[in-house]
């Protein structure tokens, strides 16, 4: 199990996850900036992601959709705020309509990724910040409806490997 800690904080509306990755920061950076690698992990197996646009520059945008088991699509976007290769990355992540246009009525998360070199590879810290607890609830509720949460079998698998 590579996840070493998770810190949900209902007061600051953040969720921090820290993981040890068995590759140097330069390699770990690629899973974020190479859309072909990113789409292999961003969505769960039941809702794989397809990144149609992934413009990794400050102010750049990404456009993606996740395809559900019945072929239904859920569209999303990223907006890059900070890029410091291969150390840190900060972006907004939100929902979009079928045309890929950002939907302001849906929650937006601000995510910060930090990659720190360690003796064994990389310590990755991902901090997700929500605007309000209501947004957080909305996101989780929708995530569950779209099957974004892991299937029980996968959870067992991860726990068994802990």
């Amino acid at each position: 199990m590579t996840v070493i800690s998770t810190t949900p904080d209902t007061a600051t509306l953040t969720m921090t996850i820290v993981a040890e990755l068995a590759a140097p920061p330069n390699r770990a950076w690629q899973v974020w900036v190479d859309p072909r690698q990113l789409e292999r992990w961003w969505g769960p197996p039941t809702w794989p992601a397809t990144f149609e646009q992934h413009d990794v520059v400050v102010g750049g945008r990404s456009s993606y959709y996740m395809t559900g088991p019945d072929g239904e699509k859920s569209h999303g976007w990223w907006h890059f705020l900070v890029i410091d290769e291969p150390h840190s990355l900060e972006f907004e992540d939100g929902f979009a309509d079928e045309a890929g246009v950002p939907d302001p009525s849906m929650p937006t998360i601000r995510a910060r990724v930090e990659l720190q070199e360690t003796a064994d590879g990389t310590r990755m810290t991902v901090t997700s910040r929500f605007a309000t607890l209501e947004q957080m609830e909305q996101l989780v509720t929708m995530g569950m409806a779209e099957g974004m949460t892991l299937a029980m079998g996968q959870i067992d698998q991860i726990l068994a490997a802990a």
């Binding site: 209902t10 969720m15 690698q37 292999r40 997700s128 607890l133």
Partner: protein, 106 residues
């Protein structure tokens, strides 16, 4: 649930919940922490009470407020679900990183 999140959407109310989770406190003691009227603080506490985030009891002339751990845990559980999404993602990242370079499926 909606009531809980509406109640926690306000920074003062979140601060009140944090304080009374640590220690039971009287309404007047809580009111001294904030730059607002006693009545305004009382209103915030009433919102938290309706959302079952805090409970109130009377001791003599004082009203004591304490956090309702059960409800707050329910809110924390939602964060836990988000955590699961990320645990899944990191498991998949690890799979990609352990594959030899160039051996990635297209």
């Amino acid at each position: 649930m909606d009531q809980i999140f509406a109640a926690l959407a306000d920074a003062t109310r979140r601060d009140i919940v944090t304080r009374v989770l640590r220690d039971e406190a009287s309404v007047s003691a809580l009111a001294r922490h904030y730059d607002m009227s006693f009545a305004a603080v009382q209103k915030h506490i009433a919102v938290l009470e309706r959302a079952h985030l805090v409970t109130k009891r009377r001791r003599g002339r004082e009203q004591l407020v304490s956090g309702d751990v059960t409800t707050i845990r329910a809110a924390a559980r939602l964060l836990g679900q988000y955590e699961e999404i990320w645990r899944g993602r990191i498991g998949r990242i690890e799979e990609i990183l352990t594959q030899p370079p160039g051996g990635e499926a297209s």
